[in-house]
Symmetry: none
Amino acid sequence: MNKHDDDTTYAIGELAREFDITPRSIRFYEEQGLMSPSRTGQNRVYLNKDRVRLKLILRGKRLGFSLAEVKTLFDMYDSNPNSAVQLEAMLEMTEQKRAVLNQQLEDIQMLMTELDDVEARCREELAELKRGKIA
Amino acid sequence: MNKHDDDTTYAIGELAREFDITPRSIRFYEEQGLMSPSRTGQNRVYLNKDRVRLKLILRGKRLGFSLAEVKTLFDMYDSNPNSAVQLEAMLEMTEQKRAVLNQQLEDIQMLMTELDDVEARCREELAELKRGKIA
DNA sequence: ATTGTAATTAACGTTAACGTAAACCTGTAC
DNA sequence: GTACAGGTTTACGTTAACGTTAATTACAAT
């Protein structure tokens, strides 16, 4: 029996704490059509599949996907699971993100070099100040 | 004589086309205190130093810096480059940014790895589909 | 003189992803 | 029974970085 058994249920606050987000965010994801938990009376009850969905949403965000993009992927998966079309759409999206990340890497390298320059000039001027050359 | 000679001037539309942004954006950067081009009558005239600034702004954006953060950096660089206090403040700032950039590098590496995983699983499932194992 | 192109300021509109406040219900603890 | 800790809906507020008119100006060509 696993800790995250299939019939374990969660309140909204529990999930919020576990993933370090606010209940508001979770309700917002539902409002955007990304989750649809069941209810007990008026209270939301989350099953393990909902928890997994939430995890996927957050990972998507970390990967730089917007909620709308995540929803697109979910919808495709829900309507036609494991279809070649859906898988290829997914691949296309990851490729895109990869390109963005590569661009960012390049930019960071360049900025690092510039930081080196600025820093070097700073240190030089500081040294001259201390030698009293400018005072 | 370089193509981007020191006394070459640019109209706002030229810069916009060169960097593939709108004139509105350039005016907005000025409004935020990131640039201050000179004027001919009421028209903005950009020199090479302005062009360089714009380049830096856009690189900052690609790096995920907000315009406010870029402005902070500019202000530091512009203000009193000869005072020891300012120089050391600048050094501290660059060190901080360097730390942030290193963190971002790490994050990007991790995201890349995650993308690799997602992609690999996609390709596997696609392969199985094509072998007719699921059909 | 008119058309066209590029520039200007001013000011309201937009998007994403929630934050925040109000007013309410509800089960458990004391 | 009352306080409290959680849950609920509704709905307006927030931030960044521009977009999008509108109304006007100025110069260049036909």
